[in-house]
């Protein structure tokens, strides 16, 4: 019999908030440009994986607590919508949980915490929107504001140094500060960044094209550098992808927009990281046995067919339920194998040959027997093709995706694609298939260390989304903690008794000042962590001191962001101009606060499906 256990969590400190804070603290090292990786070790499975972003960490963790699951749900929702900003979300959820716990300990009633924090965030969102910069202006700032790193890259000596694989100064600082102990493999860690070199030529080519009277790519390159957040290698791939997309749409006469739907990644293990690049069209790895087939098709105009799901005899479309209780009868003895696998494969091959299909793109798997016979007949079969790629082929070659081979007819066949050998990867071959006038771009991500591939791919997508959102929003926020400093300052001003009370919920809240003060500290903590992680200060305490001084130095009223960043960076200028996305960041704050308030206002955790026996063992549970 299913039972129900309930446990009250509001006795003493709030357990849910503490869980949130603890989980968020695990992702502190992912803030800032110099991310420190973590190894998640499954004790039971014996598997371990390398993670370097908040949402991957949450996916890997075993989140049995309710607050943890809500945190995961929120983070995944944000990742799905924006593709960036989960680190910020997780961190703010953590510090604001701590804020709420502190306020509870000081005896502030829940309703007053809720109203004050909502007021604080609303007011900060408004203030942040006030200091956002149009991207054109931001890029101009970038040029005149003395970005030392860009100048450094222009210096031929440093380019040479970078191309040789020597690390530049900032990385050297990073290396000195890296305090993770990675005993599993000497290949782990981000210290060896030879790929810096690959970034510089891409930038130079864009810069030189700008000198020859094309301002547009230059703008995007500069913007890209300012939102690269320490991942220059990934961002250079993104900029290249953008360039290919705009060029191919210029041929097409379309709009020069950055289209993430037309961007896919291809992960190739075994090649050094310097081989990462972007290619026009669809790139895929073809196995050894199919390599001769692929070579044979090179340069020809190909006929393409697309299958949505698996291509096996037993596969049926989603929603089809197999009839049960069917008995087959026969009057003959020689009908064995009538409905057999090989018979099906033979029929399938006949269909494909009749339609003269050269390349078969399949979303799922292909039956072993059919694949073998396709190889023999010189037909290239590519399995597990991403949906975006299939859609692009449908748009550009006119191919109609089908579920069953029996649906194929002449109208479903796409025409005009071409295949090129890209390079050999071991025994396999990477083949580039390009449809006419496609805007599809494949980013090839390579690494000798296969466990780093996921991380590199994630960072690439992070860069792509940051650039995309910067262009989509049309505005950027001052980065490197600048916006957060402003928010901290704003909240401190607001928490003063004569602060501007505009929020409808703000009146008659005697605890408003206390809560807003605590909340402001959350933002200071964020900036301190970013500064510490990026090795700008030797200790967190020093970071707090620096921030406190700059906060004191700032006068009341609205602040020009440049003055703010001067306060933050001094005039050493060793930090480049950094920008953040507007909507991704502000939405991350909103989601973080919503989550914290949701957990704060939860007083009971109800566990269903509890057996009486278990409940008796756990004395803190109440059985309902």
């Amino acid at each position: 019999m299913s039972m129900l256990g309930c446990t009250a969590v509001n006795q003493g400190p709030h357990i849910g908030l503490q869980q949130l804070a603890a989980l968020a603290a695990a992702a502190n090292a992912f803030l800032g440009p110099n991310k420190k990786c973590k190894i998640v070790d499954g004790q039971e499975s014996g598997e371990s994986s390398l993670v370097c972003s908040s949402f991957r960490l949450l996916v890997q963790l075993d989140l049995s607590c309710a607050a943890g699951q809500l945190l995961n749900e929120t983070t995944q929702a944000h990742q799905k919508a924006f593709g960036t900003g989960t680190g910020c979300l997780l961190f703010m959820a953590g510090v604001w949980s701590t804020t709420a716990v502190e306020c509870l300990q000081e005896g502030v009633p829940v309703q007053h915490i809720v109203s004050a924090m909502l007021e604080g965030l609303d007011s900060c969102l408004e203030a942040s929107r006030g200091i956002r910069l149009p991207i054109k202006e931001a890029v101009r700032h970038f040029g005149s504001g003395g970005d030392k790193r860009l100048d450094k890259h222009r210096d031929p000596k440093s380019i040479e140094k970078a191309q040789k694989g020597e690390t530049c100064e900032p990385q050297a600082v990073l290396r000195g500060k890296a305090n993770i102990k990675l005993t599993h493999s000497r290949h782990f860690g981000l210290g060896e960044r030879t790929e810096t070199g690959s970034f510089v030529p891409g930038m130079m080519s864009s810069s030189s094209s700008s000198l020859s009277g094309k301002p547009e790519p230059l703008d995007v390159t500069r913007l890209a550098v300012s939102v690269s957040h320490g991942c220059e290698d990934g961002m250079s791939l993104v900029v290249e992808a953008y360039r290919i997309q705009t060029e191919s749409s210029r041929v097409d006469g379309g709009r020069g927009m950055f289209d993430l739907d037309k961007l896919v990644t291809c992960v190739l293990p075994g090649l050094p990281e310097g081989c990462s690049c972007t290619l026009h069209g669809f790139l895929t790895l073809v196995s050894e046995e199919q390599a001769p087939t692929a070579k044979g098709l090179e340069g020809q105009s190909l006929r393409v067919a697309v299958i949505n799901g698996d291509l096996t005899k037993s596969y049926h479309h989603l929603g089809f339920s197999r009839p049960t209780d069917v008995r087959h009868m026969t009057g003959k003895l020689d009908c064995l194998g009538f409905h057999s696998e090989s018979d099906w494969a033979r029929k399938a091959l006949t269909t494909l040959q009749r339609l003269k299909v050269d390349v078969l793109l399949v979303g799922g798997m292909v039956a072993e027997g059919l694949r073998q016979s396709c190889v023999e007949q010189g037909l290239l079969v590519i399995e597990r093709v991403m949906r975006g790629v299939l859609r692009d082929f449908a748009e550009t070659t006119g191919v109609m995706p089908v579920t069953y081979l029996s649906q194929l007819d002449e109208d479903c066949i796409g025409k005009g694609a071409r295949a090129f050998m890209w390079r050999e990867c071991g025994k396999a071959v990477a083949v580039n298939i390009q449809a006419n006038a496609t805007r599809l771009v494949t980013a090839v991500i390579t690494s000798c260390v296969s466990s780093k591939l996921q991380m590199l791919e994630d960072r690439f997508w992070g860069c792509a989304h940051r650039l995309y959102h910067a262009m989509e929003d049309g505005h950027v926020l001052p980065g490197a903690g600048g916006t957060e400093i402003l928010c901290a300052h704003h909240l401190r001003e607001l928490s003063k008794p004569d602060g501007n009370r505009t929020h409808p919920l703000g009146d008659s809240n005697p605890y408003r000042g206390v809560v807003l003060q605590c909340m402001a500290e959350g933002w200071v903590e964020y900036v301190a962590t970013v500064m510490w992680n990026s090795a700008a200060v030797p200790s967190k305490l020093e970071a707090w001191t620096v921030i406190d001084q700059s906060l004191k130095g700032l006068g009341a009223g609205t602040l020009p962001w440049t003055r703010l960043s001067e306060h933050l960076h001094g005039d050493g200028g060793h930090l480049a101009v950094v920008y953040d996305n507007v909507e991704a960041k502000l939405e991350a704050w909103r989601k973080a606060l919503d989550l914290v308030l949701l957990v704060l206002q939860t007083d009971t955790e109800i566990i269903t499906g509890f057996s009486t026996k278990d409940a008796k063992q756990e004395s803190h549970l109440m059985l309902l």
Binding site: M1, M3, L4, C6, N10, G16, D62, L63, S64, A66, Q69, L70, T74, A77, K80, P109, V110, Q111, H112, V114, D122, H316, H317, L318, F320, S321, P323, D325, V326, R327, H328, M329, C335, F338, H339, M400, Y404, S406, Q407, P504, L505, S508, P510, R590, K591, D594, L595, L598, Q601, T602, D603, T604, E605, I606, I607, T608, G609, F610, L623, L624
Partner: protein
């Protein structure tokens, strides 16, 4: 071979409420419900401890559905609350709190169960006298003469819980959309009895307009065999069942194309081969519509859902559409089916940041819509914020003195009758007190029996003075004599509340929501005390 099991004898427990364990469980349930109550009610997280999804809610219908109490008494209680919530769409929490408080208090009295039930019923009987009729003390009428009145009313009623995670601006926007959706469902100038339409809710995370013919199926067209009851199919080895079914589907497709259908909608899955055939002939295919949208689509298009693909489609079952267009909402593409004419149907498109908040928002919007509909059918409102309960409790506390003969009717002593009536009064006050969650005080004035909150640590003002109490309730005129809710006070007959002096739908004072007097209100035959209010 059959399995033999020894038959277990049935166990009979008399007076289960005497069991300490049952009473403790009942108290836990009441605490859970009470802490969810009201606009500032606390949320509950329900999960199964093995990594299942977490449900965050403070809505009775959602919460109680997720619970499976171990004792039959509790199951009876949750079932009746759920029944009430599904019938009225509202007030489940209030029903649950009052019900469990009544049971708890009656069980603790030490009075015969029949006496307690009789006295409660007797006290209950005076409730309609207080709360109904045109001279009602604690209720006021609203007229639907002005459509503008709808919005302040809905605003006073629209209090999505914090689980919806809406900012005040978002809450205003969603509230306005709910009212707009509701107004769409009211048919204009229809002769005869008015039938309200439907508002379908679609949750999310172009073609030119023109009349289109629509075919609607609720049978699965995925190519499976329809359910043929018990038994085994015997098939010849050379016959492929799938091909036979597909052949039937294709015949259906041919007929539909021949009949000039342009939109083909199926509640479930459509076979890809049939889809391809239909698309090739310019038919728009919509599959996996879902049961929830089937009924609204029937209303919009006038189509009849066809339940079989093995017979030709009757021509009269086709519906009509005024047009189609594609809407983009975030990452989702939605097909907007426009009706012919102006049927009272609309779609409420809800978007939110996370799944948890979205599911709670969906419930909140559906509740609000149902409450608005009920208000239209029964245009009466009760004072909110616990005031109806305090008013009634004052009335009940004053009344038994004049109802001595009731004790004789029940065949019990007058002392027992008074005890039982007092238990009822306290249960009402317990429900009113459940609205406060932050350790603050709830006070009741001793002339009109209104109640209000004093935040913790705040000075309620001198007894009988103007002080802090009046700061919270600026609408109460004159000096007040108050007492904390739940403490003893001299019995008094409550004067009609100030609320009835207001014209209907003047903006209600803050913290003083109103609620519609729902059907089944204070009727003795309703097992659980039934009432409608914004507590979910």
């Amino acid at each position: 071979m059959s399995r033999l099991a020894k038959k277990q004898p049935s166990v009979c427990t008399s007076d289960p409420l005497k069991d300490e364990e049952v009473r403790r469980k009942l108290a836990v349930l009441r605490q859970i419900l009470a802490s969810c109550f009201g606009p500032r009610g606390r949320l509950k997280q329900v999960h199964n401890n093995v990594g299942g999804p977490v449900l965050t809610t403070s809505t009775s219908a959602v919460l109680l559905k997720a619970l499976t109490p171990s004792h039959p008494v509790l199951r009876l209680l949750t079932a009746s609350v759920l029944n009430h919530a599904s019938r009225f769409g509202d007030c489940g929490l209030f029903a649950g709190i009052l019900c469990s408080a009544l049971v708890e208090r009656a069980a603790a009295l030490g009075v015969e169960a029949a006496t307690a039930a009789g006295a409660t019923g007797g006290s209950w009987a005076c409730a309609p006298a207080t709360c109904s009729g045109t001279t009602a003390a604690a209720r006021c009428r609203w007229t639907s003469a002005a459509a503008a009145a709808c919005w302040p009313w809905a605003r006073a009623r629209w209090r999505p819980s914090r689980a919806c995670a809406l900012t005040p601006g978002e809450a205003r926007h969603v509230g306005a959309q709910v009212v707009r959706a509701f107004l769409h469902t009211v048919p204009c100038a229809a002769p005869g009895p008015v039938r309200l339409g439907r508002a379908a809710t679609v949750a999310v995370e172009g073609r030119p307009a023109g009349r289109r013919r629509l075919a609607l199926f609720n049978a699965s067209l995925a190519g499976d065999l329809p359910e043929a009851g018990e038994g085994t199919f015997e098939l010849d080895w050379e016959v492929s069942l799938e091909e036979v079914v597909l052949g039937q589907l294709m015949r259906l497709g041919e007929q539909v194309v021949r009949d000039g259908v342009q939109v083909f909608v199926c509640q479930r899955v459509v076979h890809p081969v049939l889809q391809q055939y239909l698309r090739k002939h310019g038919v728009i295919v919509v599959e996996r519509l879902g049961i929830a949208l089937l009924e609204p689509l029937i209303q919009v298009s006038g189509a009849q859902a066809v339940a079989s693909f093995q017979t030709p489609v009757p021509v009269q079952s086709y519906g009509q559409l005024g047009g189609l267009r594609v809407l983009r909402c975030g990452s989702r593409e939605l097909l907007h089916l426009l009706p012919v004419g102006d049927p009272p149907c609309c779609t409420l498109l809800l978007c939110h940041r996370t799944e948890t908040a979205l599911s709670e928002l969906k419930v909140a919007c559906q509740t609000a819509e149902r409450v608005l509909r009920q208000t239209l059918t029964e245009p009466w409102a009760l004072l909110g914020g616990g005031c109806t309960e305090t008013h009634l409790s004052a009335y009940v506390g004053f009344q038994p003195r004049g109802r001595v003969h009731a004790a004789a009717e029940l065949g019990c002593s007058r002392a027992h009758y008074l005890l039982a009536a007092d238990a009822f009064r306290r249960a009402l006050l317990a429900a009113a007190r459940a609205l406060e969650h932050d350790g603050g005080e709830r006070l009741m004035d001793l002339s009109r029996a209104h109640c209000w909150d004093v935040p913790p640590g705040a000075d309620p003002g001198p007894r009988g003075g103007r002080g802090g109490a009046l700061r919270v309730r600026p609408h109460t005129p004159g000096d007040l004599e108050w007492s904390p809710l739940g403490t003893d006070h001299p019995p008094f007959s409550p004067a009609p509340p100030a609320g009835t002096d207001h014209p209907p739908f003047s903006p209600a004072p803050r913290r003083h929501g109103r609620r519609p007097a729902g059907a089944g209100l204070f009727r003795r035959q309703v097992q659980c005390p039934a009432r409608c209010r914004g507590d979910g």
